[in-house]
């Protein structure tokens, strides 16, 4: 724990294997093996030697190891060269380095709506067919003028 800033950073060593759901309100660095989901309100770092079999629900994550599961980040997902991701990802921002192995679906659109658990792929609504009056080019102003 960093006493100067007050922020807490948990580190899972490379020799550690955890089975179950891991929850933290701070930041966490995983270098070992996790068989379960990971929920973190802070930043998550997946080390080179880490293997995660489960879903990640985090604020932001930097992946350098292997992840078999979905990743949902409120802010940013970063995949480094040695990352091996097998699952869907959803975030506001994405950065991928060359050499990454990734199989899954990506829903990252920095200029679109922020990622959420229930977000769906946005699609533009189909244009409404013109009414007869509109097609003829008549004045279609609504309100008082139309009723006259």
């Amino acid at each position: 724990m960093d006493s100067n800033t007050g922020t807490s950073q948990t580190t899972i060593a490379a020799e550690v294997e955890i089975t179950g759901t891991l929850k933290t309100s701070g930041s966490i660095q995983v270098n070992g093996k996790l068989n379960g989901d990971l929920q973190a309100d802070g930043d998550v770092t997946i080390g080179k030697s880490a293997t995660i079999k489960g879903n990640l629900n985090v604020n932001s994550v930097s992946v350098a190891g292997a992840v078999n599961g979905n990743i949902a980040a409120k802010d940013r997902i970063e995949m480094q060269t040695s990352a091996r991701v097998n699952g869907d990802i959803r975030a506001k921002r994405l950065a991928v380095e060359d050499g990454v192995s990734f199989v899954g679906k990506s829903e990252v659109n920095p200029s679109g709506v922020a990622a959420s658990a229930q977000s769906k792929i946005e699609s533009k609504p189909e244009p409404k067919p013109l009414s007869q009056s509109e097609a003829k080019g008549e004045d279609t102003k609504s309100g008082l003028f139309a009723k006259r």
Binding site: S101, V103, S106, S111
Partner: protein
């Protein structure tokens, strides 16, 4: 008279003769030394600092050329109007062209061709190393051995154009309806496609890549968007390299 050319027997007379000959040569050397100008000792040049000069060397630009006759790939450096294929000795024109009107005649070059917005290709075959498409391809065929760049106002039929690499500039929004295969893809605008890339797919900041993407390498820069089904497997890049050099063949 005896022959004094070669001495076969060393006796007193030949020894004396050799001594006299040696004295005579030394005397001549000393005379020459006196008449020669005194040698001046040139100072050794200052030791050149290591690394100096490196970095100032300008390397000429290298161009990747694919012969449109035999398909042989090679590199040339610098600018020239033409080059000869090392394999088939075909003369390859390297001239760049800018098309501003209707093109009805065949155009074959290993340079760059720029089809402007007001230009069109009608019943003509165009072969180029690099092709910037901003106009209309009504009919004919366009074969690009290098990079194809699709502008925002381009109008074309996908099956008429084959290219090795693809670039989508920032202002362009391109939708490829048929399955496309390229070596490298660079997205700076918007691209929606069913895409297969044997090289690198690069998504620049502000760009958006949609669709079904399968490739060997993916690079997404900060600010780039990806809304797609992805299969990125660098380990299988060696299998994909078998497709190297084969332009995409799009089917209607």
């Amino acid at each position: 008279m005896p022959d004094y050319g070669k001495t076969k027997v060393v006796d007193g007379f030949t020894a004396l003769r050799a001594i006299q000959q040696g004295k005579g040569s030394k005397r001549n050397e000393s005379n020459e030394r006196e008449t020669r100008e005194p040698e001046t000792v040139k100072p050794e040049p200052a030791a050149r600092p290591s690394g100096r000069g490196i970095g100032r060397t300008v390397m000429p630009t290298k161009f990747e050329i694919i012969c449109y006759k035999c398909g042989f790939e090679y590199c040339v450096t610098g600018r020239a109007d033409y080059t000869y294929c090392p394999k088939c000795r075909e003369r390859l024109e390297r001239t760049d062209h800018v098309i501003t009107g209707a093109l009805t005649q065949n155009l074959v070059t290993v340079g760059k061709v720029h089809l402007t917005e007001t230009a069109s290709i009608d019943s003509a075959t165009v072969v180029a190393r690099e092709f910037i498409l901003e106009g209309t391809v009504k009919s004919g065929r366009v074969e690009v051995t290098g990079m194809l760049e699709i502008g925002p106002n381009a109008s074309y039929t996908e099956k008429l154009i084959t290219a090795r690499d693809l670039r989508i500039p920032a202002a362009s929004k391109v939708t490829l309806r048929s399955h496309a295969s390229y070596r490298n893809v660079e997205v700076m605008g918007r691209l929606k496609a069913k895409l297969r890339a044997t090289g690198v797919i690069t998504v620049k900041p502000g760009a958006l890549l949609k669709g079904d993407i399968r490739g060997a390498h993916l690079v997404v820069e900060e600010g780039g968007g990806v809304f797609a089904d992805l299969v990125i497997e660098p380990d299988k890049a060696h299998e994909a390299e078998n497709d190297k050099g084969v332009p995409a063949q799009k089917t209607a």
